[in-house]
Each structure stands twice: as structure tokens, then as C-alpha cells.
């Protein structure tokens, strides 16, 4: 089922949750809405599901206007961050709920419901837990029950609100890959909300980055990572750091580094650079600095460099561990820094 949302505005009292948000999700795609907490991503999802109503704007599902359609009739599957399971029911009854509440003439027979629930429990690998209560399941198992429950009514559209946010890293990775496979196997449209960039980049066909109730960028994961549309997106997706710079007459001056040609208006700008794009040389051209703390993070090495005349946080350079070990730096050593790749944005202290 395709989703289209046209100029949605929503405020809660003084707080503006969504400002003129429009988006389209074609049938069959798995799209992630990525943003910090309070950016309006959950509100957007709830409006699409019909759990909240927009102040202005319209929602279309499968090309048909659904703005006024009650939740019950939208037939979307919704998965909540904290599972929202019916705790007085067994796992089986939880999954069967959507089928059992149908009007008598639409309701499948008891045998058909049983078969359907068993099929779904097999799909989420929880056949053995059918008679247990949610209380006795782990977080990952609970979320799988919630997914099976949402899938029982055969929704064309699956909405997931930070579905793995309350789980351990390990379980989270496992589940999101499993969700991707499920999505490919069952051919529905999925829209999921997350504040975890790895989750969005790894699973989604397209990523929508939101900030302050607005959509900042929409694109394929690598597009959002490689060509961020704004300083916010650059800083939020992947790790990055800011260096102050100045553009004068088409030349960009970053600290004492040699000026480079740069198009744009003159004045103060922010240079945003990712740690792996920081080039550290023992001598020569560049911005001189002193090596600070060095930390091993799994297969990577993070090295802090205090840049000369720079008052901000030390710059972090990232190396592959094998390469670093072959040619290490010493704490206190003087080095020269150049940037392999960076982007400039108008200076915006808030980000």
C-alpha cells in the first residue's frame, strides 16, 4: 500500500510537532524516518496510522484519502516501542486478537484462526511460547509477538514506532535484519521510526531525516550519508565534527591550512568532517596539532588531536586498527592535519 502525506501540520499546545510535512512512500518499500527525540517522527507515524489527527493536511493510503478514516478501518499494522501486548492474554490469544474481534460474518472459523496464528508463530519462531503470557517472555520475544499480532490481520502497511529501541544491541541487530527479510518475503510497505542511524542505514530502502518537525532530507541511505542536504543531516547521520572556517573571495580558509577554492557567499562557515576523512601526517602542510588520547574501538582506532589555536574539542581521526598498528603515533607527538573530504554549511550554532 502506498502512503502519501500532504502538508501536515500538528501542534500540541505551544509545541509545534510537525510543520508542513509532505512525503510519499511507494508500495513495497521499507522506509526509515530518522531523527532525534522530539523531532515529530512518532507523531507523523501516529497520524498515518490514525491514532492522532493532523491540524491541517491530508493523508492518502493507496491513493485514497484517509485523513478522516478511523484507525479500525485503515488496516495498518502498528508495532509499538514498548510492545503494548495484552498482558492478560496468552501469546496465542494476543496474535489471534485481530481476527477474533472481526464482525461475525467476516470472522474466520476457529480452526482457520488457529491455523493462521500457528503459521505466524512459526514465522516469528515462537511456536513453543503459544500458551505463555507476555510477562514470561524476553523483550525480543515480546516484540516478535507484537509483530505477529500486527501481521495477523494481513495489513498492507506496517508502521513501526522505534520497534527495537528498548532492546539490547545484539537482539536489536538480529531483529532488524530479520525484519528486512520478512519485509522482502511478504511484500508489504513498511515505515519505521528510529533515532538509531545504523538501524536506518542498514535496513531501509530510503531514509527520511527529520528535525524540529520538518523533513530535512529524503534519499537512499548512501545518499543521505554521502551527500547530506544540511549541516544537521551531516552531523546526525554518521559521526562528524565541526571546524570553524572563513570564506573570502571564493577561497576557503580552514585554520592555518592552505586556502582552497570554494563556491558560496563570503563569511563564516562550518566545515563538517567525518573522523575517517581526517588525514594525519608526521610533518608537512596542514594544521599542526598534538596527539592526545588514543582509543581502540573494536576494529578501529580513534585518536584525539589538539589543534593549535583551536579552542573547541580536540579533532578525532579514525584509523583501521591493522594499519595504525603498523605505523602508530605517540601521545604528545606533533602532527599535521589535512582533510581528505569535508562539506561546508552556513554557520549555525544550534545545528
Amino acid at each position: 500500500m502506498s502512503i502519501a502525506v500532504h502538508s501536515i501540520n500538528k501542534r500540541f499546545g505551544e509545541f509545534v510537532a510537525l510543520r508542513d510535512v509532505s512525503l510519499e512512500v511507494p508500495t513495497g518499500q521499507l522506509v526509515a524516518i530518522l531523527g532525534p527525540s522530539g523531532c515529530g517522527k512518532t507523531t507523523l507515524l501516529r497520524i498515518i496510522a490514525g491514532l492522532d489527527s493532523p491540524d491541517t493536511g491530508r493523508v492518502f493510503l493507496q491513493g485514497r484519502e484517509a485523513t478522516e478514516l478511523p484507525v479500525q478501518q485503515r488496516r495498518v499494522g502498528f508495532v509499538f516501542q514498548h510492545y503494548a501486548l495484552f498482558r492478560h492474554m496468552t501469546v496465542f490469544d494476543n496474535v489471534a486478537f485481530g481476527l477474533c474481534v472481526r464482525p461475525r460474518r467476516e470472522r474466520p472459523s476457529a480452526a482457520a484462526i488457529r491455523a493462521k496464528v500457528e503459521e505466524l508463530l512459526a514465522l516469528v519462531q515462537l511456536e513453543s511460547a503459544a500458551t505463555r503470557h507476555p510477562m514470561h517472555l524476553s523483550g525480543g520475544q515480546r516484540q516478535r509477538v507484537a509483530l505477529a499480532r500486527a501481521l495477523a490481520v494481513e495489513p498492507q502497511l506496517l508502521l513501526l514506532d522505534e520497534p527495537f529501541g528498548a532492546l539490547d544491541t545484539q537482539v536489536r541487530q538480529e531483529l532488524r535484519r530479520w525484519l528486512r527479510r520478512l519485509h522482502d518475503a511478504l511484500h508489504f510497505t513498511s515505515l519505521f521510526v528510529t533515532h538509531d542511524q545504523n538501524e536506518a542505514l542498514e535496513v531501509a530502502d530510503a531514509v527520511i531525516v527529520m528535525n524540529g518537525g520538518r523533513i530535512e532530507q529524503r534519499g537512499a541511505p548512501e545518499e543521505v550519508y554521502d551527500a547530506p542536504a544540511s549541516g544537521f543531516v551531516h552531523r546526525f547521520v554518521g559521526s562528524s565534527q565541526d571546524l570553524p572556517a572563513r570564506r573570502t573571495a571564493g577561497l576557503l580558509y580552514v585554520g592555518p591550512m592552505a586556502p582552497v577554492p570554494s563556491a558560496g557567499t563570503d563569511g563564516e562557515v562550518s566545515v563538517v568532517v567525518r573522523p575517517q576523512d581526517v588525514q594525519v601526517n608526521r610533518a608537512g602542510e596542514g594544521w599542526p596539532g598534538v596527539v592526545g588520547a588514543v582509543r581502540v574501538v573494536g576494529p578501529l582506532v580513534h585518536m584525539e588531536i589538539a589543534l593549535e589555536g583551536h579552542n573547541g574539542d580536540p579533532l578525532v581521526a579514525e584509523f583501521e586498527r591493522e594499519r595504525y598498528r603498523a605505523d602508530p603515533f605517540l601521545t604528545g607527538q606533533t602532527v599535521c592535519v589535512t582533510l581528505r573530504r569535508y562539506r561546508t554549511y552556513p554557520t549555525d550554532p544550534v545545528g
Partner: protein, 296 residues
């Protein structure tokens, strides 16, 4: 150089012997607090109750049977328990409704209504009885409206139920309201996305969750109503065999210096109440376990 693989100190061979040790409680003072609880319960509840049994023992089995077996006593006991059960039942429904409105909706004067609920707790029961009697007597404000319809409230068993409903309402509201407020709304939203109507959500999701609290509220209202005296005697009319409640009969016996007979009736009331409450509590514990899925 700054780069170093993390080194772990060599683990020393464990030399600690694990002696069997009493598990330590997080909060100290279990012995003291339990002792105090038992002492307190004994002084306040058990010893006075035991005295009732002792006093009624003076009757002997035969006299005891004669006292509590008279049609007047049996009728009074039936009325007391019947009216109390009926009033508690009415309160269960009305109380759930009031609690729902207070927990779910925000409206002007909500705090005032919230405070009003507690009034029957604080009001002297005699005042409640007199007010209700004045309202429902044949020439009272409500009584005069009901009279043409052939409904008599004051000086009938119906009046007793009305008084008991009045004093029992807060028990249900105050036990159910916090549970309703604590309910996770997302669970109801989840049910709605699965296609459940508001009615289905209430019956299948909300009601099972508040059921144990509702049962507790019923029990409290019921227990309170069984022993209620002050408000009832004004509105009941107190006609033997028709609108005379058991507590009044006990007082009557006391006034006639028949102490043993009075405690005899009291013992019967006490035993019936005890077993009824025990039964309801068992039901409540069972439904609570079912709700949390512990029994499975």
C-alpha cells in the same frame, strides 16, 4: 607509546569459601514489624472478636439456636446481607462509571467532583440517613415525585439499599480510579489498530485489567454495607420482618439487657461476613493471578 592492547590482571585463585549464610533482607526489622503487626491486630481486632464468641458462649448451643433461629432474626440477617450485596452491586457499576469519567476526561470542576466522591466517607452516617429520609419520604423532594409512580423508598427495604449505595460509592471509585489512570493507553491503541471497536476494547482489554480492582471495590463496599447502622435506621422504618436490619436487632437486644443474645446474632453475622469475604478475596487473588499470567 599510546597504543596498547588491554591487559587483564592475572585472576588470583579463588580462596573464598562459600559458607552457608542466611540470605540478608534488604529491609531490616522483619521480626519487629511482624511482632508489632500481630500484637496490634490482636488488641484491635482479634481480642474483641474473641470476646464476642466468649460472651455468646454463655447461651449454650440450645439457647443459641433459639435466639438466632427466630424468624425475626433470620429475616433481619437476610435483609442485611441481601441489601448490602445489592447496594455493592449497584456501586460496582456506578463506581466504575464515575472512576472512568474522573480518570479519562478532563472537564471544568473535575477536581470538585473528585472531592465530592469522598464526602460519604466523612459525613456522619446519621446525617446521611436523615438527609436521605427527608429527600425520599412521601412528602420529600424526590419521594413526592416517586409516590405517584407507586415507588416507595423511605421506610422500605429499597430505602435501605439507597442508603447503602450512598455510603459505599467511594470505596469502588477510590479503588478503581488509580488502576484506570495507570492503564497503558498504547495497549488500547494497539487493539484499535487491530480493528477492535471501542466496545470491544472496553470489554476485552480495559475490563480484564480493572477487574481485580473492581472486585476489591465491591468487597469493601459490601463489607461496609453489612455493618452499616447509622444511616440505615433513619430511612428503614425498622419494621420487624420487613425493614429491620440485623445490627439494629443487636442494639435492640442490648437495650433489653440480653447481652448474650445480642452477641449471638453478632457471631452469626461475623461468621457469614468472614466466609463471604474470604471467598471474594480468593476470587480476587485468582483473577489477579490470571491477569498477570502467573498461574499459566
Amino acid at each position: 607509546m599510546a597504543f596498547a592492547e588491554p591487559r587483564m590482571p592475572a585472576t588470583p585463585a579463588s580462596t573464598v569459601a562459600f559458607a552457608a549464610r542466611r540470605p540478608r533482607r534488604v529491609l531490616p526489622g522483619f521480626g519487629l514489624s511482624l511482632g508489632y503487626t500481630i500484637l496490634y491486630l490482636s488488641l484491635v481486632v482479634l481480642i474483641p472478636l474473641a470476646a464476642i464468641f466468649l460472651k455468646s458462649g454463655e447461651l449454650g448451643w440450645e439457647r443459641f439456636g433459639q435466639v438466632v433461629g427466630t424468624p425475626r432474626v433470620v429475616a433481619a440477617l437476610e435483609l442485611s446481607f441481601g441489601a448490602a450485596a445489592l447496594a455493592a452491586l449497584v456501586n460496582t457499576f456506578a463506581g466504575l462509571l464515575v472512576a472512568w469519567v474522573l480518570a479519562r476526561y478532563d472537564f471544568p470542576l473535575r477536581r470538585l467532583v473528585d472531592a465530592l466522591v469522598d464526602l460519604p466517607f466523612a459525613l456522619p452516617t446519621a446525617v446521611a440517613g436523615i438527609a436521605l429520609t427527608a429527600l425520599y419520604s412521601p412528602n420529600g423532594l424526590l419521594g413526592s415525585l416517586l409516590e405517584p409512580l407507586g415507588v416507595k423508598v423511605a421506610y422500605t427495604p429499597l430505602g435501605i439499599v439507597v442508603a447503602l449505595v450512598f455510603i459505599g460509592l467511594p470505596f469502588v471509585v477510590r479503588t478503581v480510579q488509580p488502576v484506570l489512570e495507570e492503564l497503558d493507553r498504547e495497549v488500547e491503541h494497539a487493539a484499535a489498530t487491530l480493528g477492535a471497536s471501542s466496545g470491544q476494547i472496553f470489554v476485552r482489554i480495559v475490563l480484564p485489567a480493572v477487574w481485580p480492582a473492581l472486585l476489591t471495590g465491591f468487597t469493601l463496599a459490601f463489607a461496609r454495607a453489612i455493618g452499616e447502622y447509622g444511616s440505615v435506621i433513619f430511612i428503614a422504618g425498622n419494621m420487624p420482618m420487613r425493614s429491620e436490619i440485623a445490627p439494629l436487632l443487636i442494639v435492640t437486644k442490648l437495650e433489653q439487657y440480653e447481652y448474650a443474645a445480642a452477641t449471638g446474632i453478632a457471631v452469626v453475622m461475623l461468621l457469614i461476613s468472614f466466609f463471604l469475604l474470604l471467598g471474594i478475596n480468593a476470587l480476587q487473588a485468582w483473577s489477579q493471578r490470571r491477569l498477570l499470567g502467573v498461574a499459566a
